[in-house]
């Protein structure tokens, strides 16, 4: 794949993830505004619903990918020093990968008693 196509792919995925994040945000805000307040048991039950887990997993994937492309663009634009930029890019990538693993483990943990 050429560099140009890679840039296009990131551009496209950034917009597709944005669309999913926007829809998920509307659902979440609606639930926050109009849903019943939950206690611990109800909260675990909610997150233990399979289709909610799927929506959440997709949300986290879209979120971390979206954050990666966005922060990458910001660093490429504002950090001209190459070594510093590379260091920051690696730090952000490691952080986002760690958060992705942590959130996946969290989503799965609800299914263990």
């Amino acid at each position: 794949m050429t560099f140009r196509a890679q840039g296009l792919r990131a551009w496209l995925l950034q917009r597709l993830s944005a669309a999913y994040l926007a829809l998920f945000t509307i659902l979440a805000v609606g639930w926050l505004l109009f849903g019943e307040p939950v206690d611990y048991a109800a909260w675990r039950q909610l997150l233990g619903t399979p289709w909610i887990s799927v929506l959440m997993a997709l949300f986290f994937m879209a979120l971390f990918f979206h954050a990666w492309v966005g922060i990458r663009d910001v660093l490429m634009d504002y950090v001209p020093h190459l070594k510093l930029r590379l260091f920051l890019l690696i730090a952000v990538a490691v952080l986002l990968l760690a958060l992705a693993i942590w959130s996946a483990l969290t989503l799965v943990s609800v299914y263990r008693p």
């Binding site: 917009r15 909260w43 969290t106």
Partner: protein
Amino acid sequence: MPTQSARPRFLQLLQIRQPITAIVSITHRISGVLLFLALPFAVAALHLSLRSEGDFLRVQAWLAAWPVRLIGVLLLWAILHHFLAGIRFLLLDLDIGLSLKAARASAWAVLVAVGLLFVLLLIGALA
């Protein structure tokens, strides 16, 4: 690669009067970076809230604490702005509202809508 030139350089950021579209663009970036910085705390809160009842209550108490609430207000602005300005950028990418006049109008519309929703939600949260 950057070369030195004799051209005058004027980078007094506070004195350059940016067009409204540029202001919406840079605040989209700033709000995005703020939301990125909040991610580790959000994942940690989700993790703890599902781990045990004691941790769930602890997260609730943290979220109710004033310093956290203040950061929450900032993040509320960031989400509202990133969401609405983001929808505007998506529409621009689809070639909708590309004329200068329409782009300026939609930039103002985003700022006004963010301000209104922000105030409404704050009042709702306090009431």
